[in-house]
């Protein structure tokens, strides 16, 4: 199978990669581009560990073909923190102890970023609904929801 060249913008940088048609974006991010912060939990779109933002939309990168990234802009967990340090969502996850094992954390943070980008003032119910596609098995979600709501407040006040 011939490899296909793909040009995309990943975390603000122009990237060119070669992929096979049957490779997912998740596989290329992790195995070809070394961006292993995006995690594989189920590879079927049911857990959210592989969340990335694709042209502004939250997606499961396990359900996107790498070739579909042509001309697109992608934000992964590696692109969430700014030049001056952690994003407020990341900071609040730490302060609230909103992670235990940490495997779902990148997916949650990317999903929370997408949520707050389009809804800066979510209610608890809205946050829970938006994050329902992200599974966490350690925390019972309590501290995650608190961290996201607290981050929303911080972002609104800055």
């Amino acid at each position: 199978m011939n490899k296909i060249p793909v040009q995309a913008c990943i975390n603000g940088e122009a990237v060119v990669f070669l992929c096979e048609p049957n490779q997912t974006l998740l596989e290329v991010l992790r195995e070809e581009l070394g961006l292993t912060g995006t995690k594989e939990g189920c590879s079927n779109g049911n857990c959210g560990a592989c969340n990335v933002i694709l042209d502004g939309a939250l997606v499961n990168s396990c359900l996107v073909l790498a070739v579909e990234a042509e001309g697109k802009s992608i934000t992964t967990i590696e692109g969430i923190a700014g030049p001056n340090g952690l994003h407020p969502i990341q900071q609040k996850f730490l302060e609230h102890a909103a992670l235990q094992c940490g495997i779902c954390t990148p997916g949650f943070i990317v999903a929370a970023k997408a949520l707050l980008d389009h809804n800066p003032q979510p209610t608890e119910e809205e946050a829970r609904r938006w994050l329902a596609g992200n599974l966490c098995r350690c925390t019972g979600y309590d501290k995650i929801i608190r961290a996201v709501l607290d981050a929303a407040e911080t972002l609104r006040n800055t």
Partner: protein
Amino acid sequence: MSSATPTIEKPPYRVVGTRPIRPDGVDKVTGRAIFGADVRLSGLLHGRVLRSPHAHARIKSIDTRAAEALPGVKAVVTGHDFPDPQNKVAASGEGTVNLRSLAHNCIARDKVLYFGHAVAAVAATTPNIAEEALKLITVEYELLPHVLDVREAMRPDAPLLHDDLRTNEMGQRAETPSNIANHTRHERGDVNQAFAEAAVVVEREFRTSMVHQGYIEPQNGTALWNADGQISVWCSTQAPFDERNQLAEILGMPVSKIKVTPTEIGGGFGGKLSVFLEPLAAMLSKKAGHRPVKMAMNRAEVLAATAPTSGSYIRVKIGADKNGCIVAAQAWMVYEAGAFPGSPVDAGAGVIFAPYRIPNVLIDAYDVVVNKPRAGAYRAPGATNAAFASESVIDELAEKLGIDPLEFRILNGAKEGDRRADGPVYKRIGFIETAQAAKAHPHYSAPLAPSRLDPEGKNPAIKRGRGVAAGFWFNWGGKSSAWASLNPDGTVSLIEGSPDIGGSRASIAMQLAESLGVRAEDVKPAVVDTDSVGYNDATGGSRVTFGTGWVAWRLGEKLKQQLKARAALLWEVTPDQVKAEAGVFSCNGRSITLKELAGKLDETGGPIVASDTFESDEYGPGFGVHIVDLEVDTETGKVQILRYTAAQDVGTAIHPAYVEGQLQGGVAQGIGWALNEEFVYDAQGHLLNASFLDYRIPTALDLPMIDTVLVEVPNPGHPYGVRGVGETPIVPPAGAVANAIYHAIGARMTALPMSPARILEAQGKA
């Protein structure tokens, strides 16, 4: 959030009880932390596993030639490539594992014993080529009759999984082969007479389905069998040292040739105590010309072929006198071991009546093999099944006696000096305090939480109820080793061997910081490989903050002693004249800070390091008492959790945020088990719901905030009063939810999960 009810005044700690940011936190929120599947080595190959499509079959032949010929394929292995270990038992988590069973579970030899059992493995240059190669392997099977239900498996005419398995009864092996691997009995007093004399007796039978730990990170492992015979393995494991032993036996290599590097681990809950892929990756690496091989399961493999925990059949009978005192309790418990012996039924038998003082007891426990994956540990293994049964019956007894359910538990609750149902006498425990804390919590006196489905209260189909339940877990001490070195800037590098699965780097570092007198941030912990630190038992059994924390405390004390000697040298006094308090060393009006002293290491004799290894039995069991409000849509059978409060005897909370997190996480898993989680097999023994779509763990939208009550009854057997915390919180939820459903709809649920279909059925609606 949470409230703490200290029952004993704590010493004025400076670090213990605070909430610092965890040392590995930034790496985990930025995606930089290296989990098992993130390991990348040069020349890396990718391995995949061919799995049995049958529940029980003899392997007549395996033809791997076509797979080997596929371009990109570098090696194929089958069971024939592995030595056959003896029946030998080794440590695994708190318990033991039969290495021959484990070897045969990693890759089948002459028979496959469950759907998903590994049959062959391939290493290739890409995961997709390895996947395609699997389709080219031809396996000829002779189908054998299978058995999925434990009680059917116990029958003398049931299909046998193992021709050589004979029932063990406390060291005595039965004459004839059977699927009953083990029978245990606890007996005290005379239950028959006590039941005959009891004022109220309740007896019920319960069933629970096989469930999975559901960690989000699939099993994985990368192995390099080097040309010099040294084997390096990187993997997500709770137990690097146990895995090293297991690999040695399965590969037929000495332990000294094997190094296991535990990566960051994405959840385990007891499911990552033993090897699955690692031996296959190692053998593939050897056969592929000593190239490293990475293997990772997909979710379907995780669910079908790892170590879920037992489904069970349990009969419970409890009697009380007219004053509400329990006089007798009996249980008959059968747990699915899966394909190889070793279900947690004995633990279930140990916990089933543990919160209560009961004079007459009879418990029979059976470990039974069936054609399902080998059952493993899952957070307080065996206990949730047991407590679901016993706490349902306790609730019914309290109701029949007209006694408040928490009052009934307090009345019969076990205290120091009382005898456990399985024999030994309790030392200092905090069950009564925990039950009282739950009873005193505002949740227990508040009106039922408002409905989510029907906020205006117009729909008569929506019924609400409240339930309570208690739970117990033994906890464990185990062996820990660690070492520490003082840096010239006054910080400490702490080298430990306990994989950090939920924030233990923080709680261990804090204990060293407290004893040495530095800030939590001044201790830099690292979890290292099996060559770089002394032996550590598994991260499991709620032991790490207790056991490894104890070692960290000792390291701090040892460093402090050496620093006193250095200060004494500076001041020309004897070390015992030097006092150390909160990181300041003083003597006769002179003082020096730890930081300053650390800066003078070179001029006072060179570096300071300390190492320690330790095992303690003073771990102390934990009790939980939970309260839940829920609503039932009686027309659809769906249950919505409205409010939840978990009280637990946690000893001293070193890092309260992570203690709360343990309680909240355990509750969430318990609720999932209670309501929706189950393995669904078809009649042929195929697992039908091997995905996170259909194996339904709770989402954020399914749960409310989970209140915690940390009842701090310090454990006298630990320098900071630590008890194990992690496992107890999964024990009460199923019972609490069952009791709340009863109070909502008036039907006793006797099977897990209490799924909508079952709730409709219990009401006679479908």
